[in-house]
C-alpha cells in the first residue's frame, strides 16, 4: 500500500506491506533506529512515539494506519543541536543506564509534561506507567522528569548531585 507520513517534520512516501508494523517501518524503511522493540505487545513502551500529539506504542500500530499522520520520534526531539529539557534531565539526573527503554521513556515524559508541566511524583509515576525500565528502579527517571518540568517552567532544576548519597 502507498502511504505518506510526516516523520520529525520530513515527508516520506512509500509502498509498505499492510501487515508491517509502524515500528518496523520507522526502523527498517526510514533507518530511524532510536525507536526500539522490547516486547511486540504494547507492554514495555520502548517503541513509544508521538502520533498527532499523542503517545502511541508503535509496535501496536501498522504503518498503513499512520498514513497521513504526523509522527515524532526520539530523533526529532532535540532541535538545532539543543537537547530537549527532558533529554537534559535524563542526562543530568542519571535517568538511564542501558538506554534501551530511554527513547520511549523520553517520548512519554515529553507528552506528560506537555499536558502538565508541574506533575507530582505520583503523577509522574502514573504518567510513565506504560514504559518499563529494568535498570533504574525509576528513582532517577522520576527525578529526571522533575528536572525537565522545572526547566520547562523556567525554574532552576535540582541537579545531579541532589539526592545522591555521599
Amino acid at each position: 500500500m502507498e502511504i505518506s507520513i510526516s516523520v520529525n517534520g520530513s515527508e516520506h512516501q512509500g509502498d509498505v506491506e499492510p501487515r508491517k508494523l509502524l515500528v518496523h517501518y520507522l526502523r527498517e524503511d526510514l533507518g530511524l533506529t532510536g525507536t526500539h522493540v522490547g516486547c511486540e505487545t504494547g507492554y514495555c513502551g520502548a517503541c513509544t512515539v508521538i502520533v498527532d500529539g499523542k503517545t502511541v506504542k508503535s509496535c501496536t500500530m501498522f504503518a498503513v494506519q499512520a498514513d497521513g499522520r504526523d509522527i515524532e520520534t526520539v530523533e526529532g526531539v532535540a532541535s538545532n543541536g539543543e537537547l530537549h529539557p527532558v533529554q537534559e534531565g535524563f542526562w543530568e539526573c542519571h535517568g538511564l543506564q542501558c538506554g534501551f527503554c530511554t527513547p520511549g521513556m523520553i517520548m512519554s515524559s515529553i507528552a506528560l509534561l506537555d499536558a502538565n508541566d508541574d506533575p507530582s511524583e505520583d503523577e509522574i509515576r502514573h504518567g510513565i506507567e506504560g514504559n518499563l525500565c529494568r535498570c533504574t528502579g525509576y528513582h532517577n527517571i522520576v527525578r529526571s522528569v522533575q528536572y525537565a518540568g522545572a526547566k520547562m517552567r523556567g525554574e532552576e532544576p535540582a541537579g545531579a548531585s541532589e539526592g545522591v548519597s555521599s
Binding site: L32, G38, V77, L96, I128, E129
Partner: protein
C-alpha cells in the same frame, strides 16, 4: 588515592548523549547489505520424541533461503558450556525435545515476516511423553529428563569440591548436640525462592557475517561476554579464536541472561557460512522465556539452632535447585555461588546440601546475584523467624552473631576468606539514620489502630569481583570455550600522538557506565580531561583478552588493571615531561591537561607535547622506547566481599492483601566509590529487581511444562507506579585486594532486598499468626495467609 575531584565525583555519563537522542547502536540497529533473517520453530511440548520434520512447505515459500534441522548441524557437536556438568544442549532438537520452546528447526528468509510465516509451515511430528516439571518430583526421579540419568546432577555438600585444598571440619555433630540442649530453640521453615525470567528490555539479538575469503567470522551479539562467545565459535567451527570477532555494541541490559553462549549465536554463524550472506536473529519477547536462561528456582528448608538470648549455634540449609533441562554456561555453579555466602556475615557453624536437579523446563543460569540472593534470602528469613521466636529484636540477633572488624581477614564456616568488613557499624549507621526505635513505635501505634504496618530488616554479605587466578581450576576461567584464561582483569591505556587517550578494557557495560567510570580513573591519574578520553570495550578483536561483565567484577578487576596501566603510563610520561622541562621525573605533577614541575606551575607541558615527544623517539631520553601505552592483566589475590543493611516499612491492606511499600532505606558498603551517582543507580536498580521478586514476578509452569508467563502481560515487571523512591546511604570499608579499594555494587541491591520486603510483610501480619508467605507476595497470597492464620 584521589588527587583530583574527578575520582569519587559525580560526573555525568559519557555514554548518555547518544542514548538520549536515539543514536546508540544496539545489535538490531546494525545494517549489513543482503542480511537474511531467522525464525525458529519451537516445541509446544515439554517432553516428546520427534519422528518426522517436514520442511518442504516452508522451503516452497517465496523468500525462504534455508530451513535447517539437527541433520544439518549435528556435526557441530553440542552447545559448549563453561561448567559442563549435566547434559549439554544440542544446537537444534535431536530426536527429542526436553522443554517447551526448545528450538527444533531454523528458518532463514529474506525478512523477519517471511521467516515467521515459514516457521509456521514446518511440520513436526511429536510423540509427547511424561515430563518432569515439579521440582520435588524431579528430585525423586519419578520421571527422568534424560533417559537413564538421575535428575540430580550433583549435590554441593560437605567439602567435596575443595577437598585437598581446605581442611573443613564437619559442623553437623556440633549442631546436632546444640539441638539436644535444653536451653536452645530450633526454628525451621520451608521456603520457595521462585523461578524468575531476567527480562532485559532489549531482547537478545545476533548478527553473523562469515567471510569465506578471509575464513573468518564477525558476530554482533547482545552479550556480556564477547570473548567467551568468540572462543566458543572457534571451538565449534574448528577455527582459531583470532579468526573470530565478536562485538557487543550497546547492550540493553544484561542481568546475567546475556552471560551465556547460546545456540542461536552459533547457528547464525553456521547459516551465514552456508549461505554466504549476513544472518540475523532477534529474539521476540515471547520466545525469550525459552531461548534465554532463567534464574533462581530453589525449594529449600532453612533451620537455625540457637540460644534463647540470640546466639546462633548452627545454621542448616538444604535445597533443591532447578537447573532446567540443559546445562548452560555456569548452570550447576550458580548454587555454588550461593554456598559461598551461605553463612552470611555471621560466625556460625553452617551445614548445607544444595541439590542440582534437572527438569523439563528451560535452562537456568546466572540472574542478577546468581545464587547469592537465594542464599541471603534463606539465611535472613530464618534469622528473622528465629528472632521472632525468642522475642529479641532482629537487629540485635544479627549483631550478636556478626564477625567483628578485628576478625578480618575471616575464614568463614565454608572455608573461604573474606577480605574486609565492619557489619555492626554499617547496620548502626542505617538504624540511626532512619530512627529505628521511632519506627518501631510508629509501627506498634498503627497496629494498635488495626493497621497492618511491618518493618523488615535484612543485612547481607556477598562475594564478587572474580577473580583470583587460583580459582581457574575450579571453573573460574573460559577454558570451556577454548580460552584457559583465569578471570583476570585487563586494561590498555594508550596516549595517542595528539595527546588524547584511548582506554581499552576486557569488560563492557550493559548499563553500568563503564565508559564514564574508567575515564574518571584515567583522568584522575593522568590529568587528561574526561572529554579527551575514549573508552573502548566489547570487541573481542580490539581489546585484550577479556572475561566480560558479570558478578560485579568489572571495576574490581578490569578497573584495577586500568588503574595499574594508568600508573605505568604516568611513570613514563613523567620521565618524558622531566626531560622536556629539565626537571627530575619525581618532581613532575599531572593536572589540567598536562604536566608541570611541582611548585612551579609555569614550567609546564601539555599532553600534546608529551605525546609528540613519545612518538618522535629521537626526542626522548637516551635509550627510551617510543610510544606511550601500557597493557596490564590484573589478578587479585581474593574476591571482594561487599555488604550492607536494608530496611523497609510496609503496610498490608487487611481486606485485599495488597502490600504498599511506605519507605525503603539501604546502607550499602562497596568499598571505595568512583562515581557515587552511578553507584546509587546500581543500588536503585538492584533493589527494584529484589522487590520485583518479593512482590510481583514468577515464572509459572503448568503440569505439562507450559510457561504461563511468557509475555509481559503475565510476567509483571514492576512499573514506576509499583515502586517507591529509595533512601540510600553508604559506609566505606575499602578492600585490600585491589589498588582501588573497590568491591562491586551491581548485584548488592538485589541480594539485600527480596527478604527485606518479605520480612516486613511477615512482620505486619505475624501477630495474626502468619509465620511465612512464599514469594511473590501478590495480594491474593497475602490475603489467603491472613485467612489461613485466623482459622
Amino acid at each position: 588515592m584521589s588527587s583530583t575531584s574527578v575520582m569519587g565525583g559525580i560526573v555525568r555519563r559519557k555514554e548518555d548523549p547518544s542514548l538520549i537522542q536515539g543514536k546508540g547502536i544496539y545489535v538490531d540497529d546494525i545494517k549489513r547489505i543482503g542480511t537474511l533473517h531467522v525464525a525458529f520453530v519451537r516445541s509446544p511440548f515439554a517432553a516428546a520424541t520427534i519422528s518426522e520434520i517436514d520442511t518442504s512447505s516452508a522451503l516452497a515459500l517465496d523468500g525462504v533461503r534455508a530451513v535447517y534441522t539437527i541433520e544439518d548441524v549435528r556435526h557441530l557437536g553440542l552447545n559448549p558450556a563453561q561448567v559442563a556438568v549435566g547434559t549439554l544442549r544440542p544446537f537444534l532438537a535431536d530426536g527429542a525435545v526436553k522443554h517447551v520452546g526448545e528450538a527444533v528447526a531454523m528458518v532463514v528468509a529474506d525478512d523477519r515476516y517471511i521467516a515467521q510465516d515459514a516457521a509456521d509451515l514446518v511440520f513436526v511430528d511429536y510423540e509427547p511423553i511424561d515430563a518432569a516439571v515439579d521440582l520435588k518430583d524431579a528430585f525423586a526421579d519419578t520421571v527422568q529428563v534424560h533417559d537413564g540419568v538421575s535428575n540430580t546432577l550433583l549435590t554441593w555438600a560437605g567439602n567435596a569440591w575443595w577437598e585437598g585444598v581446605i581442611d573443613l571440619p564437619d559442623p553437623s555433630p556440633g549442631i546436632q548436640e546444640a539441638k539436644e540442649r535444653e536451653d536452645t530453640v530450633v526454628v525451621s521453615l520451608e521456603m520457595v525462592n521462585q523461578r524468575l525470567i531476567p527480562t532485559a528490555i532489549e531482547p537478545r539479538a545476533v548478527l553473523a557475517d562469515w567471510n569465506s575469503g578471509y575464513d573468518s567470522v564477525e558476530l554482533f551479539s547482545s552479550s556480556q561476554i564477547p570473548h567467551a562467545v568468540a572462543g566458543a565459535i572457534g571451538v565449534v567451527f574448528g577455527i582459531p579464536s583470532n579468526k573470530v570477532r565478536v562485538v557487543a555494541p550497546e547492550v540493553g541490559g544484561g542481568f546475567g541472561l546475556k552471560l551465556n553462549v547460546y545456540p542461536d549465536e552459533i547457528l547464525c554463524c553456521f547459516a551465514s557460512k552456508e549461505l554466504g550472506r549476513p544472518v540475523r536473529w532477534t529474539e521476540t519477547r515471547r520466545e525469550a522465556g525459552f531461548s534465554s536462561i532463567q534464574g533462581r528456582g530453589w525449594v529449600g528448608t532453612a533451620t537455625i539452632t540457637g540460644t534463647r538470648d540470640g546466639k546462633i549455634l548452627g545454621y542448616e540449609l538444604e535445597a533443591i535447585c532447578d537447573m532446567g533441562a540443559y546445562t548452560h554456561n555456569f548452570t550447576v555453579a550458580i548454587p555454588l555461588l550461593g554456598l559461598f555466602v551461605a553463612p552470611g556475615q555471621y560466625d556460625i557453624p553452617t551445614s548445607y546440601a544444595l541439590h542440582c536437579v534437572v527438569t523439563n523446563t528451560p535452562s537456568t543460569d546466572a540472574y542478577r546475584g546468581a545464587g547469592r540472593p537465594e542464599a541471603a534470602y534463606y539465611l535472613e528469613r530464618i534469622i528473622d523467624a528465629y528472632a521472632r521466636e525468642i522475642g529479641v529484636d532482629p537487629a540485635d540477633v544479627r549483631k550478636a552473631n556478626y564477625w567483628k572488624p578485628e576478625d578480618f581477614p575471616v575464614t568463614t564456616a565454608i572455608g573461604l576468606t573474606m577480605d574486609t568488613g565492619d557489619y555492626e557499624t554499617n547496620l548502626d549507621a542505617l538504624l540511626e539514620r532512619v530512627g529505628y526505635e521511632d519506627l518501631k513505635a510508629k509501627r506498634d501505634a498503627a497496629r494498635a489502630e488495626g493497621r497492618l504496618l511491618g518493618l523488615g530488616l535484612s543485612t547481607y554479605v556477598e562475594v564478587c569481583g572474580f577473580g583470583p587466578s587460583a580459582l581457574a581450576g575450579l571453573g573460574f576461567s573460559w577454558a570451556g570455550y577454548g580460552l584457559p584464561a583465569a578471570f583476570n582483569g585487563s586494561g590498555v591505556v594508550r596516549v595517542q600522538p595528539d595527546g588524547t587517550c584511548t582506554v581499552t578494557i576486557g569488560t563492557g557495560p550493559s548499563g553500568q557506565g563503564h565508559e564514564t567510570t574508567w575515564a574518571q580513573i584515567v583522568s584522575d591519574g593522568l590529568g587528561i580531561e574526561m572529554d579527551n578520553i575514549e573508552v573502548n570495550h566489547g570487541d573481542s578483536k580490539d581489546s585484550p583478552m577479556g572475561i566480560g561483565s558479570f558478578g560485579s567484577r568489572s571495576l574490581a578487576v578490569d578497573g584495577s588493571a586500568t588503574y595499574e596501566a594508568t600508573t605505568r603510563v604516568k611513570e613514563k610520561a613523567a620521565v618524558i615531561a622531566g626531560h622536556l622541562l629539565e626537571a627530575a621525573p619525581e618532581d613532575i605533577r599531572f593536572a589540567d591537561g598536562g604536566a608541570h614541575v611541582a611548585g612551579s606551575p609555569d614550567r609546564a607541558v601539555g599532553w600534546g607535547q608529551i605525546a609528540e615527544s613519545a612518538y618522535q623517539p629521537h626526542t626522548l631520553p637516551e635509550g627510551m622506547e617510543g610510544g606511550l601505552e601500557s597493557s596490564v592483566v590484573f589478578s587479585p589475590p581474593n574476591a571482594t566481599w561487599p555488604f550492607g543493611s536494608h530496611l523497609a516499612l510496609v503496610e498490608v491492606d487487611p481486606d485485599t492483601g495488597d502490600v504498599d511499600i511506605l519507605d525503603y532505606w539501604a546502607t550499602d558498603d562497596c568499598g571505595n566509590v568512583i562515581n557515587p551517582m552511578i553507584v546509587d543507580g546500581q543500588v536503585h536498580g538492584g533493589i527494584a529487581q529484589g522487590i520485583a521478586q518479593a512482590l510481583f514476578e514468577e515464572a509459572i509452569y503448568d503440569d505439562f511444562g507450559n510457561l504461563l508467563t511468557s509475555s509481559l502481560a503475565d510476567y509483571p515487571l514492576p512499573a514506576a507506579e509499583n515502586l517507591p523512591s529509595f533512601s540510600l546511604d553508604r559506609t566505606v570499608t575499602p578492600t585490600d585486594v585491589n589498588p582501588l579499594g573497590v568491591k562491586g555494587i551491581g548485584e548488592a541491591g538485589t541480594i539485600g532486598s527480596a527478604q527485606t520486603i518479605v520480612n516486613a510483610v511477615v512482620d505486619a501480619v505475624s501477630h495474626l499468626g502468619v509465620r511465612h508467605i512464599d514469594m511473590p507476595l501478590r495480594p491474593k497470597r497475602v490475603w489467603q495467609a491472613i485467612q489461613d492464620a485466623g482459622e
